[in-house]
C-alpha cells in the first residue's frame, strides 16, 4: 500500500490529539513541555507532508521556523523551570496559582 498524504495527516491529527490530552492532563511542568513539543511537531508533519504533496517548499520552510522557535521556547522555558524548582522545590502545576484573580 502506497503511503499518501492522508496517512500523514491522520498521523498528524493523532499526534495533535495526544499532545492536547497531555496539555490538559499533565500536572508536571516538564511533561507539559513534552506535550507542547508533540503538538508543534504534529503540525510540522502536516506542513512537510502538504508541502511535498503540492511540490511547494514554503511549508517545509515554515516547519524549520517552527523548529527554531520551539527550540528557543524550550530553552527559555527550561531556564524558568529550573529557577522555579530552585525556589519552590517543586514543579507541580497545581502549586502555581499566583495569578489567581
Amino acid at each position: 500500500m502506497e503511503i499518501g498524504l492522508n496517512h500523514y495527516l491522520v498521523l498528524s491529527t493523532i499526534l495533535f490529539s495526544i499532545g492536547l490530552v497531555g496539555v490538559m492532563r499533565r500536572k508536571n511542568l516538564l511533561m507539559l513541555f513534552f506535550a507542547t513539543e508533540i503538538l508543534l511537531n504534529s503540525v510540522n508533519i502536516s506542513f512537510a507532508a502538504i508541502s511535498h504533496y503540492y511540490g511547494d517548499l514554503t511549508g517545509q520552510m515554515f516547519a524549520f521556523f517552527v523548529i527554531a522557535i520551539a527550540a528557543s521556547e524550550v530553552a527559555v522555558g527550561l531556564g524558568l523551570l529550573i529557577v522555579w524548582h530552585k525556589k519552590h522545590n517543586s514543579i507541580d502545576l497545581d502549586t502555581m496559582s499566583m495569578m489567581r484573580g
Partner: protein, 640 residues
C-alpha cells in the same frame, strides 16, 4: 448710531455679569453700584436714540450676526430701533435705572445683595432683547429670558417655601402660554416663510382669514400668559413673594406689559382680524373689572397693587384690541411710571413696618413718612386718572376709544372699573397713611426710607405727573408705524359730559374711600364683622376660588398621575429593566469567577475547550454555507 444701539442693549448684560462675579462673595456695594451705572449708560443711549428717532424720523436697523441659516430658514440676530421699540426701551431703561438705585438701599441688609443685582440686570438685558429684536425668534428668546429672570427673582428668597412655590407657579403658567406663542410663531413661518417682522407682516394680507385668525389667537395666548390675563392670571398676585423692587420693575412696569407690546408690534396682523381684536378687547375689559373687584378687599398692599396692575393691563388690551395701538402703548408707558412708583412706595412702607403687609395694622404713617406718603398719593391720583396727571390722558383715552368704536358695554365696564380703581387705590392710601395709628398696638417703630431712595424715586414721580403732556409729541412719533387714528368725540357736549362725568365719578369714589377708611372705627379685621361673613367678601378675598379650583382640578390630578407614573411606570418598568441588565452582568461575573482559579492546568483546559468550541462553530457554519441549497430543500419539506 449703531454704537448707541449696542451700548443700550449690552450695558445691562455687562452689569449682570459683573455682579455675577461677586455672586459667591459677601455683600459688596460695588456689585450694586456698577450695574446701576451701566444701566444709566443704557438709559442715556436710549435717550439719544429716542431723540434721533423723534427729530429725524429715521429708524436704526442692524444685523449683528447670523444666528441660524439652514436651507430656507434664515434668522439673524437683528435689532431694530423704531418708534415703538424706542418707546419701550425708554420705559425699560428708565424704570430699571430707578429700581436699581432704589434697590441698593432696599436690599442693603440682604445676604443675596450681589446675586440680586446679577439677576435684575440680566432681566433688563432680556427685556431689551425682547423689545429690540427685529424678528419673532429674537422676541421669543427675550420672552423666555425675562421668564427665567422673573423665576429667579420671585424665588429670590428661596429658603421661603411660599416664594419658591410662587416662582414655580409663574414659570409653569408662562410655559403653558409660551407653547401657544411658539405655535403662533411656527404658523407664521410656515405661511410666510420668514420670521422678520417686515417680511412676515408684508406677506400676511395674502393669507386666508382662517390662517390669520389662528396665528392671531396663538400669539395672543402667549401674550395672555406674560401679561397674566384670565385664565392665566393667578401667578401675578402670587409673584408678590419676590422683593418689592422686583415687583415694581418686572410685575408692574416691564415684563407683564410684554404681551401688550406683542399685540402692538403685530398690529398689522390684528388689523386684518378685527374679530380676534374684539375678543381681546372683551377679555381685557373683563379682566379689568375682575381684577379690580379682587383688589377691593385684599389685605396685602402688594397684592392690591398687583391686582391693580392686572386691571390696568386689561385696559391696555381693550385699547389694543379695538385697534387703538398707540393708545395702548401710551397707557403702557404712563402706567409703568406711576405703578412702579406705587410699588416702590409700598416697598418703603414695608421696610418701615418690618415687612408687614396688612394695611389694617398700619394707619397714621403719614406723620413719619411724609415723602413716601406724597409719592404714593400722587401715584394713586395718577392711577385714578385725575386731571392733569398721566392717568387722565392715557386711561380716559381708552374710555373714549371704547365710546367712539361704539362698544358701549366695554365702555360701561371700564367706566365702572375706573371708579373701583380709584376706590381701592385710596383705600390703601387711607389705611396706610391716615387715621388712627394702629401700628402702635403691634409694637412697630416705623421710619422713613433712606434719602437717596426717595431721590431715586423722584424721576418716576415727575413723569407720573407730567407724562400726559407728551401725548401729542408721542402721537406724532409712533404714528409713523402705527395706525394714526385720532380718537375725538366729535360732539363737544358729549365729550364734556363724558370727561367731567368720569372725573366726578372718580372723585366721589376717592371721597368714599377716604371717608370709610380714615374713620376711627377701623379695626384690624378678625373675621367677625358682618361684611366679612358676607358671601361677596368671601368670594373676593378667595379670588373667586380660582386658585382652589386650579389646585383641585389640575394640580392634584396631575400630581396623582405623576405619582402613578413614578411608582408604576418608572420604578416598575424603566428602572427594573435597566437594573435587570446590570444585574444580569453582575450575576454572570459572579458565577463565572470560579473559572479564574489561577491554576495553569485548569486554564489550559478552558483554553482547549474554547478552541474546540470555536472550531466546531466554524465547521458547522462552513458546512451550512456549503450545503445551503440542500438545507433549504429539507426545511421547505418540513413546511417551515
Amino acid at each position: 448710531m449703531e454704537l448707541f444701539l449696542y451700548t443700550a442693549l449690552f450695558a445691562p448684560l455687562v452689569g449682570s455679569l459683573f455682579a455675577a462675579l461677586f455672586g459667591a462673595s459677601p455683600r459688596t456695594k460695588i456689585a450694586g453700584i456698577v450695574p446701576s451705572i451701566l444701566l444709566g449708560v443704557s438709559l442715556i443711549s436710549s435717550t439719544v436714540l429716542l431723540v434721533l428717532v423723534l427729530i429725524t424720523g429715521h429708524t436704526v436697523h442692524v444685523e449683528m450676526m447670523t444666528w441660524m441659516a439652514t436651507g430656507d430658514l434664515y434668522i439673524p440676530f437683528g435689532f431694530i430701533v423704531d418708534q415703538v421699540s424706542v418707546t419701550m426701551m425708554m420705559v425699560v431703561t428708565l424704570v430699571s435705572t430707578v429700581v436699581h438705585v432704589y434697590a441698593i438701599g432696599y436690599m442693603n441688609h440682604d445676604k443675596g445683595f450681589n446675586r440680586f443685582f446679577a439677576w435684575l440686570s440680566a432681566f433688563v438685558f432680556s427685556m431689551m432683547v425682547l423689545v429690540m429684536s427685529d424678528n419673532f425668534a429674537g422676541l421669543f428668546i427675550g420672552w423666555e429670558g425675562v421668564g427665567l429672570c422673573s423665576w429667579g427673582l420671585i424665588g429670590f428668597w428661596y429658603h421661603k417655601e411660599s416664594a419658591t412655590w410662587a416662582a414655580n407657579e409663574a414659570f409653569i403658567m408662562n410655559r403653558i402660554a409660551d407653547l401657544g406663542m411658539l405655535i403662533g410663531i411656527f404658523l407664521i413661518y410656515w405661511n410666510t416663510g420668514t420670521l422678520q417682522y417686515d417680511g412676515a407682516f408684508a406677506a400676511m394680507p395674502a393669507l386666508t382669514p382662517e390662517t390669520l385668525t389662528w396665528i392671531g389667537i396663538f400669539l395672543f395666548i402667549g401674550a395672555m400668559g406674560k401679561s397674566a390675563q384670565f385664565p392665566l392670571h393667578t401667578w401675578l398676585a402670587d409673584a408678590m413673594e419676590g422683593p418689592t423692587p422686583v415687583s415694581a420693575l418686572i410685575h408692574a412696569a416691564t415684563m407683564v406689559t410684554a404681551g401688550v407690546y406683542l399685540v402692538v408690534r403685530s398690529n398689522e396682523l390684528y388689523s386684518l382680524i378685527p374679530h380676534v381684536g374684539l375678543f381681546i378687547a372683551s377679555l381685557g375689559a373683563f379682566v379689568a373689572i375682575f381684577a379690580a373687584s379682587m383688589a377691593l378687599v385684599n389685605r396685602d398692599i402688594k397684592r392690591v397693587i398687583a391686582y391693580s396692575t392686572l386691571s390696568q393691563l386689561g385696559y391696555m388690551f381693550v385699547a389694543a384690541g379695538l385697534g387703538a395701538y398707540w393708545v395702548a402703548l401710551f397707557h403702557l408707558m404712563a402706567h409703568a411710571f406711576f405703578k412702579a412708583l406705587l410699588f416702590l412706595g409700598a416697598g418703603n412702607v414695608m421696610h418701615a413696618m418690618d415687612s408687614e403687609l396688612d394695611p389694617f395694622k398700619m394707619g397714621g404713617l403719614g406723620k413719619t413718612m411724609k415723602g413716601t406718603m406724597i409719592m404714593m398719593t400722587l401715584a394713586s391720583v395718577a392711577l385714578a386718572g385725575i386731571y392733569p396727571l398721566a392717568g387722565f390722558f392715557s386711561k380716559d383715552l381708552i374710555l373714549e376709544v371704547a365710546m367712539i368704536e361704539h362698544h358701549y358695554i366695554i365702555y360701561s365696564v371700564l367706566l365702572f372699573t375706573a371708579g373701583l380703581t380709584a376706590f381701592y387705590s385710596f383705600r390703601i392710601v387711607a389705611l396706610i397713611f391716615h387715621g388712627e395709628e394702629r401700628y402702635k398696638l403691634f409694637g412697630f417703630h416705623p421710619h422713613e426710607a433712606y434719602k437717596f431712595m426717595l431721590v431715586a424715586m423722584s424721576p418716576l414721580l415727575f413723569l407720573a405727573v407730567i407724562a400726559g403732556s407728551f401725548k401729542m409729541t408721542y402721537f406724532e412719533m409712533v404714528t409713523y408705524i402705527l395706525p394714526a387714528t385720532e380718537y375725538h368725540v366729535h360732539n363737544p357736549a358729549i365729550y364734556w359730559i363724558m370727561t367731567i362725568g368720569t372725573q366726578i365719578f372718580v372723585i366721589i369714589s376717592i371721597y368714599y374711600a377716604y371717608k370709610i377708611y380714615m374713620s376711627r372705627d377701623i379695626k384690624v379685621p378678625d373675621g367677625t364683622s358682618k361684611m366679612e361673613k358676607s358671601f361677596a367678601y368671601k368670594l373676593l378675598i378667595n379670588q373667586y376660588y380660582i386658585p382652589y379650583f386650579y389646585e383641585e382640578c389640575f394640580v392634584k390630578p396631575y400630581r396623582e398621575l405623576s405619582t402613578l407614573c413614578w411608582t408604576k411606570i418608572d420604578q416598575k418598568i424603566v428602572d427594573a429593566s435597566v437594573d435587570g441588565i446590570a444585574k444580569a452582568f453582575y450575576a454572570t461575573g459572579e458565577n463565572t469567577r470560579a473559572m479564574q482559579s489561577g491554576n495553569l492546568s485548569t486554564m489550559l483546559k478552558w483554553m482547549v475547550a474554547g478552541t474546540v468550541a470555536l472550531l466546531s462553530l466554524a465547521v458547522v457554519f462552513g458546512l451550512a454555507a456549503r450545503y445551503s441549497g440542500e438545507i433549504k430543500v429539507i426545511l421547505s419539506g418540513l413546511g417551515v
